[in-house]
């Protein structure tokens, strides 16, 4: 019993610590990738290659003055960053990031909670992520942030549909809502090959869900200045950032889990390799996730941004019907073939 609790706590520590570190370096990577794309250096002053930059950034945001607008709604204004960050971190709980090892006389899964409705859990949690954004935008009592909040909530609700529907095809193929089942079903054949359309929809929708370019209308620098977090500064601002980037990481991990075989390694059955296999699986998972993180950054520095109506058009009139068609087709395939 005690060991169990210890193991779980360790896992949580690992995941949260890993996520935070990843976020910190994701921000650095973003700036580095920007430099690479735009043929300049990016941060290179703090530490070699700017590797200590995240720490400097962190210290800076901590020490910045924490401003609360005079007419803001104080309670919600203070709550909102946490409301963004918490769901972002919780979501990762059900993502399996490795095959698991046998130690202490039991099987330890590399996953905090292996619940049998994992996918639903993720959708449930992400669906509340929108509260932080909306309430943050509203409570700042700034028209720009309000517009940003409204935009982002409309966008997240719209794309959640396409997101959910695109996954249903995979659920039909796998017959389970457990993420581990989905991963194991992909040994030998990744879902991306079985459900390419679903993958495209999921990818686009997940970009929209995480408010990233070309869907970053909620915080579009040039229109809404910074959108919902315009009035935030200091630690609360960095919480928003943490939440956003954790969402990106979770999203990439989800793409990998759902479509790219999760922790599996192509052509190698890691479950039979013991501890080495576990290590390999974690590496495989990390590499795949890293690729999608890079894709996020890559797209960010390449594409312009949609307009609100175009965004809605894409979500409702293209992705949603496409997802439905894909679902229909998959269902027909499973039923008749």
């Amino acid at each position: 019993m005690l060991t169990d609790i210890a193991i779980i706590i360790t896992k949580i520590m690992i995941v949260i610590g890993g996520t935070f570190t990843a976020v910190a370096y994701l921000i650095l990577a973003e700036r580095k990738v920007a430099g690479f794309v735009q043929e300049r250096y990016g941060p290179n002053r703090v530490g070699i290659w700017g590797l200590l930059q995240p720490i400097a950034d962190g210290v800076k945001t901590m020490l910045k003055e924490d401003i609360t607008p005079a007419k803001a709604n104080r309670i919600i204004y203070h709550l909102a960053p946490a409301m963004v960050l918490a769901p972002a971190l919780v979501t990762f709980a059900v993502v399996p990031f490795g095959s698991g090892i046998d130690a202490f006389g039991r099987h330890i899964a590399f996953q905090i909670a292996d619940i049998n409705i994992g996918i639903l859990f993720i959708f449930a949690i992400t669906s509340i992520g929108v509260y932080g954004v909306v309430l943050g935008g509203w409570s700042s009592n700034n028209k720009y942030s309000l517009l940003g909040g409204v935009r982002s909530s409309a966008q997240m609700i719209s794309y959640e549909l396409a997101l959910g529907l695109s996954v249903v095809g995979i659920l039909l193929l796998t017959g389970s809502l457990r993420l581990n089942d989905i991963v194991e079903a992909q040994i030998g054949m990744w879902n991306v090959f079985r459900q390419p359309v679903a993958f495209m929809i999921f990818l686009v929708a997940v970009f929209a869900e995480t408010n990233r370019l070309p869907f970053d209308l909620a915080e579009s620098e040039q229109e809404l200045i910074a959108g919902y977090h315009i009035e935030y500064s200091g630690f609360k601002y960095s919480m928003f950032m943490l939440g956003e980037y954790s969402n990106i990481i979770t999203a990439s991990a989800l793409i990998v889990t759902l479509f790219f075989g999760g922790w599996t390694v192509p052509f190698i059955d890691v479950t039979k390799l013991g501890h080495l296999g576990a290590f390999l699986s974690v590496v495989s998972f990390a590499v795949k996730t890293g690729f999608f993180l890079f894709l996020y950054l890559w797209v960010r520095w390449t594409l312009p941004r949609f307009r609100y109506d175009q965004l809605m058009h894409l979500g409702w009139k293209i992705l949603l019907p496409l997802a439905l068609l894909n679902l229909l087709f998959t269902a027909a395939w499973i039923t008749y073939v």
Partner: protein
């Protein structure tokens, strides 16, 4: 912003865009009424950068005022310098030597490229495509290095004088320009690769801010904005000045008059400008850049000033406050093709050292008048597409 209790009826949101806003590229304010994402009405407010250039001109000699023109369109100060000097020369009734004219063409085309690079870059950045902006700025930096070399300053160039230039070009300058000219098309290609076939960029600019030919006349639009609507109106071709008639180039003209056409026209103009630059470099004549100092309008050579008393007196006559160069009594209007459109100077002289009145026809100011019409009924996000494609420079807007 104050929340009014039980207000916000009809859900129409009044939003103040600017005066400090990342997309205004300067200090201007747009007060708009929003219905959700839809713009019901906009009311542009300007004047935040108003520094009274026209009033200043009445208290400065002609050569002094050149420095003020730097601050107008700060993206292409050389064009402004040249425009004013040409106007003053027209008033004085003089024409500078060919070499001087060619160098002015070279400089104004280079600054046109610099201006368009920023305009396209910021327009793309406003739509979220940040990389284009930095590509453009990289090249602009190189151009500014060249400007600095030739004029001594990156931004406040003040390169021209009435009757010529501040100085002849440095010795290796043409070669340096040629080197830059050779590698620059790559950047244009890169930008086109990023934008031309980019579906999102197209969606954001196709049929956005469409200006009809009639509107071009009604709103007195000039420059790339007018040409994108299909009006072939280019001062360089139609009323050639400063030996523009010596060079071959095309005037790109658009069809639909939307934001995308304005972008395309600017891109093509950069290519054409490159062609002109090449021609200038190939045909740069020898000789003086200033008119003969004997006309008592330009400064004598330094060695003359330092060695002869006549030279020294001459120098004094031109520069001293109670002397200076004196124009004839008269009134002229002179327009040049600045990157943004027709930059006109209307000068009234009463024969004194300072002009009696200088009126600047600012292209941005007049191009901006159509903004209200373009935004009515558009989406909120179109504001940046329109602002960016019209290329409103606040310094020129307010003067």
């Amino acid at each position: 912003m104050v929340r009014v209790e039980n207000d916000l009826q009809g859900e129409i949101l009044e939003l103040s865009f600017g005066p400090q806003h990342p997309a205004t590229h300067g200090t201007l304010q747009i007060v708009m009424e929003l219905d959700g994402e839809k713009v019901l009405n906009v009311e542009p407010h300007i004047g935040f950068l108003h520094t009274g250039f026209e009033k200043l001109a009445e208290h400065m000699s002609y050569n002094q005022f050149v420095t003020v023109t730097d601050r107008m369109n700060y993206l292409s100060p050389l064009s402004n310098n040249i425009g004013f000097s040409l106007a003053a020369e027209k008033l004085f009734g003089i024409e500078i030597p060919k070499r001087g004219q060619y160098i002015r063409v070279l400089m104004s085309e280079l600054s046109r490229i610099a201006d368009h690079l920023v305009s396209i870059g910021t327009a793309a950045m406003d739509l979220g495509a940040m990389t284009v902006f930095l590509y453009g700025f990289r090249e602009r930096e190189k151009l500014y290095d060249l400007f600095e070399w030739a004029t001594g300053a990156r931004l406040t160039t003040s390169y021209t004088r009435v009757g010529g230039l501040m100085a002849d070009l440095p010795e290796d300058f043409p070669d340096a320009v040629l080197k830059w000219v050779k590698q620059f098309p790559k950047t244009i290609d890169e930008i086109e690769k990023l934008l031309n076939h980019n579906r999102i960029f197209q969606d954001r600019t196709y049929n956005i801010g469409v200006i009809s030919k009639e509107d071009v006349i009604k709103y007195s639009l000039t420059g790339p904005v007018a040409r994108a609507s299909g009006i072939n109106y280019d001062m360089r071709k139609d009323l050639p000045y400063s030996s523009y008639e010596d060079f071959e180039f095309e005037v790109p003209v658009g069809e639909n008059g939307d934001a995308f056409d304005r972008y395309l026209v600017r891109m093509e103009e950069m290519r054409q400008s490159l062609g002109i630059v090449k021609q200038v470099l190939a045909n740069l004549p020898d000789g003086d850049v200033n008119i003969d100092p004997d006309s008592k309008l330009t400064l004598p050579g330094k060695d003359e000033v330092y060695t002869t008393i006549e030279g020294l007196i001459h120098h004094f006559e031109v520069t001293m406050e109670n002397r200076g160069i004196l124009p004839p009594v008269g009134e002229i209007y002179m327009g040049t093709e600045s990157p943004n459109g027709e930059l006109g100077f209307y000068i009234v002289s009463n024969g004194k050292r300072e002009p009696y009145r200088v009126r600047i026809r600012p292209p941005s100011f007049i191009n901006y008048t159509i903004f209200k019409k373009l935004m009515k009924g558009a989406m909120f996000s179109d504001i940046v597409s329109n602002l960016g494609s019209l290329n409103i420079i606040a310094g020129e807007l307010d003067r």
